[in-house]
Every structure is written in structure tokens, then in C-alpha cells.
Symmetry: C2
Subunit: 222 residues, 2 copies
DNA sequence: TAGATTGTTAATCGATTAACAATC
DNA sequence: TAGATTGTTAATCGATTAACAATC
């Protein structure tokens, strides 16, 4: 396991894009891919592609490029896709259920064990095979099963309470979809997925029509 | 309107956080706020807070700070919140309907006019007051109403087709929730909201438990 | 006035891009 | 071998942080 890998955040956030492109390349039967091709496919500089990979791996073959299967394996190892991550969802509203049934997650190694709700009408039902349980059971179940990741899709005003319950149960990472800054102990990591950021970025660009925001990649065919 | 404002992306992405905190401060009846307080509330450096604001406004009062109401007004103007942005959603699945009923959007000036679907069972229904229409009508309606923003929540394999239909209708900005890189003309801006990025970032951190990802702000009370 | 906090310049830090010798 | 592409160092660029005179 010994893994002192320290990846810069910008690099880390680009890795999923490489991963998706590589999966597609593998499906097309491609054996090797060069940093230049990968750069075209993701809209990134080829020099940056090489630099990104070299943060965790230097297995490219000069003159040939990277072996697709090998690179995928490295990324899966690094990103934790080689093992399953179990998670619980707090909130079985529209967003919560959308996440429970999001098809891409299983391929990314995410397994949602249960959703938690206050609304008694929903308790006892199932969403896409995920049982909806009473919110008061959250801490206990998380603790008992040793779940490390909690996903929050409840309204903003109760998000902190839910986060506290998760932390009590031993959750180590929180994926927060409520637009609030959560207060958690230092050992717990939080990633807030604030839709307002995306929306406001777009409406700002719409208003001052000029340079585009991120991810306007111009992929070409492989 | 004359607005040659050129805001660096990192700054632009922090503005929504300031905005949310400011709204909360206004509700608490606060008149003034300093860059130091704002920094504590958002987890950012106070120097950075001032620098961010000075990209578009230098209306702070030395010795006092920023007038909350005034700053909110500036942000609303800059981010395009002072006017409504009309949008359509392609895909009335769980994620599409979740977005249609997302309560925070109206406060951000977003108005979803319609959702579009292929599934005839859903066509003709309503989601949170938003009519679900036949997908073949997308281009026509977008064109007729002059809608500028399109939101894509369809499965990855049809996302490009949907994007093309939007572009044909005259859409200028696409908020893409499908994990694919869309190919669009230069004048159309795309923001892809890829959940894989968030998930993989978290699972990576979980695996190599170390420094936390973004937005672990430690807000204090105002 | 004295104290606080701004706007802005300068110093630091880190990330991106360019360049190229090493090597398949 | 000749051609291609890597890994890595150096150069550039831009963003963050520190510092402070101006000013309310």
C-alpha cells in the first residue's frame, strides 16, 4: 500500500477525464495512446498530460506512448476504483434518489447501501434497489457497517445536523450537495458540490459573452 | 451595460460562496462586513477576498468594511442575478426532475420553461410546475422563445444529439450533466458538471487519507 | 483623533507550457 | 536505423499571500 503519492489538486481533477477517455479507447480496441492524442481528446496540452501522469507513474514508452490497459490500471489503483467504496445517502428526495439510481456510480466503485429519510411515507420503500431507512438509524448503521463515505442531499437547513450524525457514526468523508459550508472535525473531509457555482458561472458568461468556461474540450476521433 | 470586466476563473468560482454568506449576513441584519470576517466565513484569505472584489468593484470603506447590501447588489449585477435566465432541460429522468424542482434555482434567477423527453409516458405530464414536452419540439421551442441556456440530463450516449438540437435552436450555453465531452461551435459555451470528478476526488482522499479537498471552510458565527 | 480596514503593489508560490536529451 | 514520443528540466505565466500607505 505504501503510497506517499501527493497529487496537485488541478491534476487530480483532470484524472477522471483521462480515465473516461481511456475506457473509450480500450473499447475501441486501442493498445497504445500518446500524450498528444490524449491531449486532443481531452482538450489539454500534451505536455500537461505527461506531467500529470508522471506525478504517479512513469511507465510510458518513448516512441510508442502509453499502454492503454496499463494506464487504466494505474488510474484505477490511484483513484481507488480497484476496490468498492460503500456509502450512505441522507435525504431521499429527488436529488437523493437521482444519485441512488445514477448508473455511472457502480462503474466508479461506489456502492450505496442505504438512503435515510425523515418522511415516514418514504421510510420502508426502495429506490433503485436501495432501501430507504429512518433517519434516526443513520449514526448506528454507519457505525455498525463501518461506512466511510456519506452523501448529503437534504435541504440546507438540516444539512449540518445530518453531517453531525454522520460524523458521530464515524464517517470520514462527506459529499455535500446542500449549498452550505459544513463544520466538521479536521479528520473528516468534505467536498461540497454547489450547483450555484456552475449556474452562476454560466449566467455570468451569458451576460458578458466572451471567453468560455472550463471543459470545452474539442475531442477528435480516435 | 458597458462591461469589460474580465474576472479570473478562480475568482469567479468563489463569488457564489461570498454571495451566499452575504445573503445570510443580510438576513441577520448586518450592515457592514470586513474582508477578514468574510474570509473567516468562507475559509479564504482576507487578502484574497479584497483582491477578488477589486476585480469588479472598489467600493469598500477603509476602517469600516463593505456595505452588505451594496456588495450584494454588485454581485447580483455581475453574476446576472438581477435578471432572469430562462432555460430548458433535456431529459426528465430523476436528475432532470431533481433540477426542475431544485428550490435554490429561482433565487439565482433561473427559470426552467420546459423539460423534454423521448419517453411518451412522461410527455404531457408536469414536474414541479414544469411541463414535460416531446423531445422533437426542443429545437423549435428554444428557437421561438429565444432560450439561451440548455441543461442536459440525458444518458451519455444521446447527449451529443441533444446538444446538437439545442445548438440548432440557438442555445448559447449548455450546462451538461452527462459525463461526455460535447462538441459544439465556438460561440456556444459548455460547462460539464461531472459527478465522477467529485466522487473520484473523495475516494482518492479516502484511500490516501491526507490533505482535505476544497471547501472545508470553517465558518464562524457572524 | 486613534483604530480599523481598505485598495494596491510587491513577494511568493505553484501550475502550465516549452524545449530537448534520452530511448524505444 | 530513422522517427516518434517519452520523462524531466527550464521558462513562463498567473494566482495567492504579505505588506503597507491611504483613508474612513
Amino acid at each position: 500500500m505504501a503510497d506517499p503519492v501527493k497529487i496537485p489538486r488541478p491534476t487530480l481533477e483532470r484524472l477522471p477525464a483521462y480515465y473516461q477517455v481511456l475506457i473509450a479507447l480500450r473499447e475501441h480496441g486501442r493498445d497504445y495512446v500518446s500524450s498528444r492524442q490524449l491531449g486532443e481528446l481531452t482538450g489539454l496540452d500534451n505536455s500537461q498530460v505527461r506531467k500529470d501522469f508522471n506525478h504517479f507513474w512513469s511507465g510510458g514508452r518513448p516512441g510508442r506512448g502509453y499502454r492503454v490497459a496499463e494506464l487504466i490500471g494505474q488510474l484505477e489503483e490511484l483513484l481507488g476504483l480497484s476496490s468498492t467504496t460503500e456509502a450512505v445517502v441522507a435525504g431521499a428526495g429527488r436529488l437523493g434518489t437521482a444519485l441512488c439510481s445514477y448508473p455511472g456510480f457502480s462503474a466508479l466503485g461506489l456502492r450505496i447501501l442505504a438512503a435515510f429519510e425523515n418522511d415516514s411515507a418514504k421510510i420502508g420503500t426502495e429506490v433503485a434497489g436501495v432501501p430507504v431507512l429512518d433517519a434516526i438509524k443513520l449514526t448506528g448503521l454507519v457505525n455498525r457497517l463501518g461506512v466511510r463515505l456519506g452523501i448529503i442531499t437534504v435541504p440546507p437547513d438540516v444539512a449540518q445536523v445530518v453531517a453531525d450524525a454522520m460524523v458521530d457514526g464515524g464517517i470520514e468523508a462527506i459529499w455535500n450537495f446542500a449549498p452550505v459550508a459544513l463544520v466538521v472535525p479536521d479528520h473528516v473531509i468534505v467536498r461540497t458540490e454547489d450547483l450555484a457555482v456552475g449556474l452562476l458561472t454560466l449566467s455570468h458568461h451569458l451576460k458578458h459573452k466572451e471567453n468560455p468556461p472550463m471543459s470545452s474540450a474539442q475531442p477528435q476521433d480516435a
